[in-house]
């Protein structure tokens, strides 16, 4: 697995757009540090579950509980950091 943060950022954005059916949005529209929920991209609680599925399905990374989920699923950067942290070890 390529753990280059730039590659991961790009990939995750593409997965999010596809799995969450975000028509009319390109990877460039999603900022790396912007919040994914509510005021940022405007995702909701169901999307949170979809993001957990993406993390497990494509990166084999589990999010064990809501507390971790809240921290990890803040932005593209926090998701990438978590993957690198889990996989880099």
């Amino acid at each position: 697995m390529n753990l280059d943060p730039e590659v991961l950022r790009r990939e995750i954005k593409e997965y999010i757009i596809e799995e969450l059916n975000l028509e009319d949005i390109t990877p460039d529209d999603i900022e790396n540090d912007a919040p994914l929920f509510v005021e940022g991209l405007g995702l909701d609680s169901i999307d949170a579950l979809e993001l957990v599925v993406i993390m497990e399905r494509y990166y084999g990374v589990k999010i064990p509980n809501e507390e971790v989920g809240r921290k990890v699923l803040q932005s593209i950067n926090t998701m990438v950091d978590y993957i690198i942290e889990e996989k880099g070890q």
């Binding site: 799995e19 969450l20 059916n21 975000l22 028509e23 009319d24 405007g42 169901i46 579950l49 979809e50 957990v52 599925v53 497990e56 399905r57």
Partner: protein, 313 residues
């Protein structure tokens, strides 16, 4: 019960098309549903999870309320036979392929039959009565019946209708096994708005609706329906019918053929196509002066008979 607004999405050019009944025919039947541009109707973040059944329902809701923006529907009632069946299959697929791993929840959420009515309530921010009837070929008639009851109970501005999609194999298989005829696979949605207020000039009124299941003798049901409504066959200007076979239903053979319309030839076979017939009848009543009384005779499934009498006063 008076109908003041209607909207249809079908295998014909019917969405927001006034007097479509004068134009459409068997020849203008399209291979697939003529969907409106949902992008212009439903915001992207809301639209992205929606199935066709939901999108059609919402687009029809919006069209029904176009000229009545001040109205808050007193109830939302939907009839659907299969609901969002494509998502039901999608979720089954993902259970099989996931091998115990995590599964995306979206198709599960969308698969419940009341997603259509639920999304309409969310879309309109409507807190009122909300029900979904699923009784195969009589699902529309049951939604109409519920509206009819609510109207009698004093509820005004009831939004009711039906929606069924067909982007999957379920309906084909299901209907294929029941029908005794060549099946023309259809899909679509039809929604309507009621009012208690009488118009000064013309009113389209639902006189009576009767869904009947486990039927053995359609003839006696039809006669008693007409008796209850103090009608004879001669009082009817048109009968719109569907049949489980290729033939004109026995009950209707004595009726003048030029006053008989097989509505499945116009909209295709699907279990809520009597919703289309109902909308077609309303359009005809509005635009053809000589037509004042129409019976919708729904015998799409051999043991089910839906009878709906619609009139212009």
């Amino acid at each position: 019960m008076r109908i003041i607004s209607s909207a249809l999405i079908s295998h014909q050019d019917t969405y927001k098309k006034e007097a479509f009944s004068e134009v459409i025919s068997q020849e203008t039947y399209l291979e697939s549903v003529l969907h409106p541009e949902y992008k212009d109707i439903i915001p992207p973040m809301e639209r992205r999870r929606m199935t066709d059944a939901v999108k059609m329902g919402l687009a029809c809701t919006k069209a029904c309320l176009d000229n009545f923006s001040e109205i808050t529907p007193g109830a939302i009632i939907v009839g659907t036979s299969m609901g969002s069946s494509a998502h039901t299959l999608k979720f089954l697929d993902s259970i099989i392929t996931s091998n115990g791993g995590l599964i995306s929840p979206t198709p599960f959420i969308q698969s419940t039959h009341n997603t259509i009515a639920g999304q309409i309530s969310l879309f309109l921010k409507n807190n009122r009565y909300n029900n979904t009837h699923t009784q195969n070929s009589l699902s529309f008639e049951h939604a109409l019946f519920d509206a009819y009851l609510l109207d009698r109970e004093g509820v005004d501005h009831i939004l009711f209708g039906s929606s069924d999609e067909s982007e999957n194999v379920l309906f084909d298989l299901f209907y294929y096994l029941r029908a005794k005829k060549h099946v023309k696979k259809g899909a679509g949605a039809a929604f309507f708005l009621t009012s208690k207020q009488e118009n000064t000039d013309e009113n389209i009124v639902v006189k009576s609706v009767e869904p009947n299941s486990n039927v053995v003798d359609t003839h006696s049901i039809l006669s008693s329906f007409l008796d209850k409504n103090e009608k004879t066959m001669d009082d009817l200007d048109l009968i719109l019918y569907s049949s489980y076979s290729n033939n004109i239903p026995e009950d209707l053979v004595a009726f003048p053929e030029n006053k008989l319309v097989d509505y499945t030839s116009l909209c295709g076979d699907y279990f809520t196509n009597s919703g289309f017939a109902f909308g077609y009848a309303i359009d005809l009543l509005k635009h053809r002066p000589t037509v004042k009384s129409i019976l919708v005779y729904n015998n799409l499934v051999e043991t089910n008979l839906g009878l709906t009498l619609i009139e212009k006063h």
